[in-house]
Symmetry: C2
């Protein structure tokens, strides 16, 4: 390790020049469409007709980037930069440009006058690049359009990357968000022996859009206590005078690295690594640092007025144009760029080279580093199913056994995430392969059943936000994972998943240099239909509705009906890239329907006619009974059995849907079924009783263009629930076997008259079963132990 | 103020007895269906056949409740209790029962043997009460099914309630959630002069379902620093020996109250109130405190194994039955309940009386205290609209003027919440009536435009979670409010709104003693269609999809097309109770269409034919042009103008939808239109070109049962966006005037042949306008300045 020497004045001056060059470029992006080097006096013609973008955090972020570069150069570090503050893209873009990466990826933004002009013009211009660190931004894995996830992304990147330093700039605006406020605790899950380091830089910029920030308006003692309480050693870098600030920052960065190295060295020389008290930096600078002090008597630098474009009327107000020009020239562009517009050689020397550049580190284009998972044969975990409905098994338990061996075969590149529910969701076989990550204190009794371990690759914390952020960071840096969570509470991360889906959509579509990353796999368990004591709050299958609004290029939804299907689907999802895969699977014991070969065929097709459950001989059914979801499939099958018992000559076709997007027309989603295939399966004129896991309207949303939509009758969850037994809840929402049988009778013309008696009997069954449940607090054993075919 | 005297030993013993009685009841709820007083030896017959519920946090919460009672009695306090830890209902129910409230509200749960048996039986029993503090729980305003909101609810209750003490127990599991982690900062918004006090009790129970908690496994110094950093004075109450713990807790509660009183006194005697360093308590007790130490060699008390029902096989394992019976008897029920099962008089004396009981404080049944808002006449804020499309105005600006006067007329009972965007959303007129709540440090320059004020009733913090939690707490305690937020990022609180809707649904339906509370009003602004520099991340109108999945009893969605409609809708929403009202309104300048009287008629009907924009003479249209949303209505009208220009004899009917649920059949939603009315408006056989603000499929989901659904063609946002001008974005998603005109031509049979030329012209327009936008970075002035009727 190089010694932490005091930077000499010449070096400080160079860094300051580099910083001014970056600030100049950031400001140019906001304002200029021409005269990029200010070779001519600034005139209104040079200004963009519409001024869009944000100045506020740019100079502070350029400052951090410059000093991170110094550290990387001096210590030959592999580092990436996370830009947390909103709208900070000008800083990341400026630095990517100064480092040459931007020109390599976008040759029209070359290292000369024309390239600089294009850089400026394309910023916040229609069809150009955004003011957030979008996928188009080299070196970015955190867009920051929606705030709060920079630190969880940073830790996700650091896990299993022992040589990586993640410099994570946290805005004091985003620091007010909940997800950010708890993600500071990520340090209790980072093992200095196996993982890299995160250096958080809290940027106390002072202001948001129109308000001061909370953390900038509490005492220094409170800030210090807060971050010590979070488990960090805070280092303060405060001021507004550039040269002393550079000196202080250079010293502080060295000090932080030295503390990081000490923690890592100690842990790596020990076989019992301890949690580090990691350093973090509190960087307090004026908002919009180096902007004009004031304009028309209003404070600009150090005020919320520096948040966006501080001078808006320069094109029409000559005095303001002059102020703007002075501001531009205060950065002395001619001193930093030669007459062609190329950064001068002595400044270029300050940036790292090749992949050491934070804008070019392949870690931040993780698909480049991604190695597909080594996967055991998922068939090895199958449930033998001698005949459909012949055995009971736990679907997620089998999935857990598969995941256990995936974990074993892929040390250091696969993690499973869950909010304290991985065992509750019956994935506990994982603990035969790994523990739960834990670097906080332990007690002797932990040995009895908590599975805590510093090397654990199951990540449990009661924060869906942090888990999702970690997983996204882990995936975007080239690794693999899966999150399992409570179906109802996955809504907590609706917005994060939306944003990740949008990131993937752009990465696939417009950003050819981004290599595909592993899909975001989400297992939704503890589903709506089994909430015996949790009740109404735990019943919400609406995440699927949210997902179906995202681009069909990137979203996939699977509802495997049994264990073998779940295994097949899991294998498929773990191999895939650039998707959000939602898998819905209950954790309770379930009837098993398909042997492994049938399951593979069924999942490959994604939708299928189950001949063994049908009685239409392949043609001309009275009714199509369809289902998508495990519990609803059981009820649908039971209804079919009842109907066949009641009407021995009834012709039923049974269709099951695993891949929900099969329902959508081919033109709308790549998984969509052709109309011909759809019609041949669902008929063009027979009643369809569709039992759906989620909200019933979703099926109508997906199928409204289909020929036979008018005969489609969907049952699903409709917000009817409280403390209920499974059958009660099913009955309340009419997804139960009896209600479905009544639905079918009502819709089969030839049963209209002779079905009356049967319907009475079915209604009687409903009443009897409800009474039993109310009185006994549970369902009748035969309801739970239903076997196919329905016993006489 | 009574002096904080040391509790004497007799008092401590009484409190301990009261606590044991509550623990006994909590345990009884988990286990017993008979023999409630354990008068007979415990036998398997007495046990519930299915054991559901959670023991973990109950004894700790009973402990807090007992000591809060002591404080209330000694100081005649008005206090409410917030139960944060998950599944803690047995504690709240036990205390509600001991205080008599439960029997008053549910006479079958009387203060005797039979009542106690019913209390036990109904717990976690089908159709009974849940293991969370559901709306059925007296004194609860925080269900805690989904974790993380107890503290923001607590502060919401305390705002403008100067005499209230909110005892908020925070679980160390929920403390890991993001929303909780940032809500500690609520103390920067609480004014000790005008607001009440929150006493947070962080319950360091040690464990979640299967893991230790983070905060229980960091050093005491870190905990202390963390909460000092959050701005509190932490007081530690730690131990497991009941009597010393009671002494310590009694002293600590007195000390905390004294600190609260000191802060309040100082602030109330000053006209410049300062932020208090409020006390909080760190209560460290074993999880499942007083449970058996171990079972079969596994630790129970003080372990995650005490989370749910610690002994599950007592019915079949005689040794375990004995352990369970000993556990029950360790609370000495006969000492606390007389032979009828009634709490002994000397213990009853420990509880406050009447509305001083935390289970009966009307603050926690806020509808009882709710006084309707005094509302100015919203007509006074109208935009004069001499002819449709004749003027441009800013819809939310007018709304802000109305809200300003609502604020003025309702001091101390109306607040507006927003994540740093209230002015950005053009509601800045509010600052003529009030400031932004702020108790953190201020600087002289704040006087220039930040509007910070200790008495401010606009609440801004960059945490949608905290804002939503505050608002919910404020509403549930009988006050009024509105949250305004970025449309795309309202997904951050999808799950909170879901949970609040479920709370309202249960309160309206099953809990007759809960009085109606003011509706949760959500203004979605900065909408998908105006994201010129924010781009793709800021485009998501899918919150409406989430809302439509909730019970039709409680959700309402409004898309007012102009300022007068927005005023009418706002007035309506502010008067309503027990709904979640979503209002979608863009903040940019817009054409105004309806004068005030027309707007009122239009909003009252919720959907209407705009004759002034139609050319079908009221019958037999070629096409129905329909819209829901402000920007899409403009485009639809422009399309109509273009079509009429191109085809002077075209018969167009123009329909606008304000109240989205009008589209749904009457049987599905109380606002639903009858089929007859729907058919007469939309025809039964003419093409409908429906331009929708949100994702287009939502309209299909709402209308798939309508007669003319097969001819319904919906345009809306379909995830096509980046950095775009408004028209570009509209074109990408085909909601623009030109694309809509093409859609209409394609669907009007008599235009099939003669429309070809027009379509070419329209496509040319699209290309021209796109080119202009790409080159100039903005739309053509005539696009922005479109006036109705379309100029020749």
């Amino acid at each position: 390790m190089a010694m932490a020497k005091e930077p000499d004045e010449k070096e400080i001056e160079s860094i300051n020049n580099y910083w001014m060059a970056a600030n100049y470029l950031s400001l140019g992006m906001l304002y200029l469409r021409d005269n990029p080097l200010l070779e001519a006096p600034l005139s209104p013609d040079h200004l963009k007709p519409r001024l869009l973008g944000h100045w506020g955090s740019d100079p502070g972020q350029n400052f951090v980037w410059a000093h991170a570069n110094r550290l990387i150069k001096r210590h030959d570090l592999s580092a990436i930069y996370i830009s947390g503050p909103g709208h900070g893209a000008p800083a990341s873009l400026a630095n990517g440009y100064l480092e040459g990466t931007y020109s390599e990826l976008y040759p029209d933004r070359s290292q000369d006058r024309e390239g600089m002009k294009t850089l400026f013009r394309r910023f916040s211009h229609p069809g150009g690049v955004g003011s957030h660190c979008t996928p188009e931004t080299p070196g970015s894995i955190n867009e920051g359009g929606e705030l709060g996830y920079s630190l969880s992304h940073a830790f996700g990147a650091a896990f299993d990357n022992p040589d990586l330093l993640v410099v994570a700039v946290v805005g004091d605006g985003e620091a007010e968000t909940g997800p950010m406020a708890t993600s500071w605790h990520s340090n209790k899950f980072l093992n200095p022996r196996q993982d890299g380091a995160v250096l958080p830089v809290l940027h106390l910029n002072g202001y948001k859009i129109a308000n001061p920030t909370i953390l900038s308006r509490i005492s220094r003692e409170e800030i210090k206590s807060l971050f010590e309480g979070y488990g960090y050693v805070p280092h303060f870098v405060e001021g507004d005078d550039p040269l002393p600030m550079h000196r202080l920052m250079a010293r502080t960065m060295e000090k932080c690295l030295s503390e990081i190295r000490t923690i890592q060295k100690k842990a790596r020389e020990s076989d019992r690594p301890e949690r580090g008290r990691w350093p973090m930096i509190v960087l307090r600078t004026p908002k919009g640092w180096t902007a004009p002090k004031e304009l028309d008597g209003h404070k600009i630098e150090g005020s919320f007025r520096a948040h966006q474009v501080p001078i808006l009327d320069a094109a029409t107000n000559p005095a303001h144009l002059k102020i703007l020009e002075d501001w531009f020239r205060s950065y002395r562009p001619q001193d930093h760029f030669d007459k062609n517009g190329t950064l001068r050689a002595e400044l270029r020397e300050l940036a790292p080279k090749g992949p050491r550049r934070m804008s070019a580190n392949p870690v931040a284009n993780g698909g480049l580093l991604r190695i597909p998972l080594r996967l055991p044969d998922f068939r090895d975990y199958q449930v033998p199913v001698p005949r459909p409905g012949g055995v009971v098994d736990q679907n997620t338990l089998r999935m857990g056994q598969f995941l256990r061996d995936v974990m074993k075969m892929n040390p250091g590149k696969f993690r499973v995430f869950g909010p304290d529910e991985t065992a509750s969701n019956h994935l506990q076989a994982l603990y035969e392969a790994t523990g739960k990550a834990w670097m906080a204190e332990t007690l002797p009794e932990d040995a009895d059943g908590t599975f805590l371990s510093p090397t654990g690759h199951v990540m449990e914390m009661l924060s869906e936000h942090t888990l999702e952020g970690w997983l996204e960071g882990y995936l975007l840096t080239g690794r693999h994972g899966l999150i399992n969570t409570y179906e109802a509470f996955v809504h907590i991360i609706d917005s994060m998943v939306n944003q990740h889906a949008k990131w993937l959509e752009k990465s696939r579509g417009d950003v050819s240099w981004r290599a595909p990353v592993s899909s975001l796999n989400i297992l939704l368990s503890s589903t709506v239909w089994r909430q015996d004591h949790n009740g109404f709050t735990h019943q919400d299958p609406g995440f699927l509705d949210v997902l179906t609004n995202k681009s069909p290029k990137v979203v996939r939804i699977y509802l495997p009906p049994d264990a073998n299907c779940l295994l097949s689907v899991t294998d498929h999802c773990l191999r895939s890239t650039d998707y959000v895969n939602a898998i819905v699977a209950d954790k309770q014991p379930h009837l098993q329907f398909l042997d492994m070969e049938s399951a593979i065929r069924h999942c490959t097709l994604g939708i299928g006619l189950w001949e063994w459950a049908s009685s239409d001989g392949g043609e001309d059914p009275d009714v199509v009974m369809a289902s998508a979801g495990d519990i609803v499939t059981l009820e649908s099958l039971a209804a079919t059995a009842i109907l066949r018992e009641l009407f021995p000559d009834i012709r039923i076709r049974f269709v099951n849907v695993v891949d929900l997007f099969r329902l959508v027309p081919q033109s709308e989603h790549p998984h969509g079924f052709s109309d011909r295939d759809f019609d041949s399966l669902f008929t063009v004129d027979r009643p369809i009783i569709f039992n759906f896991h989620g909200y019933p309207w979703l099926i109508h949303k997906l199928t409204y263009r289909r020929t036979n939509h008018r005969n489609l009758h969907v049952r699903g969850y409709k917000e009817q629930g409280s403390i209920n037994t499974p059958l009660q809840l099913a009955i309340e929402n009419q997804i139960d076997r009896f209600s479905l049988a009544i639905d079918a009778i009502d819709r089969i013309p030839r049963l209209q008259s002779k079905g009356a008696h049967a319907k009475e009997w079915l209604k009687g069954q409903i009443i009897d079963h409800l009474r039993f449940a109310r009185e006994q607090g549970m369902d009748r054993p035969e309801i739970e132990a239903f076997r196919w075919p329905f016993p006489k």
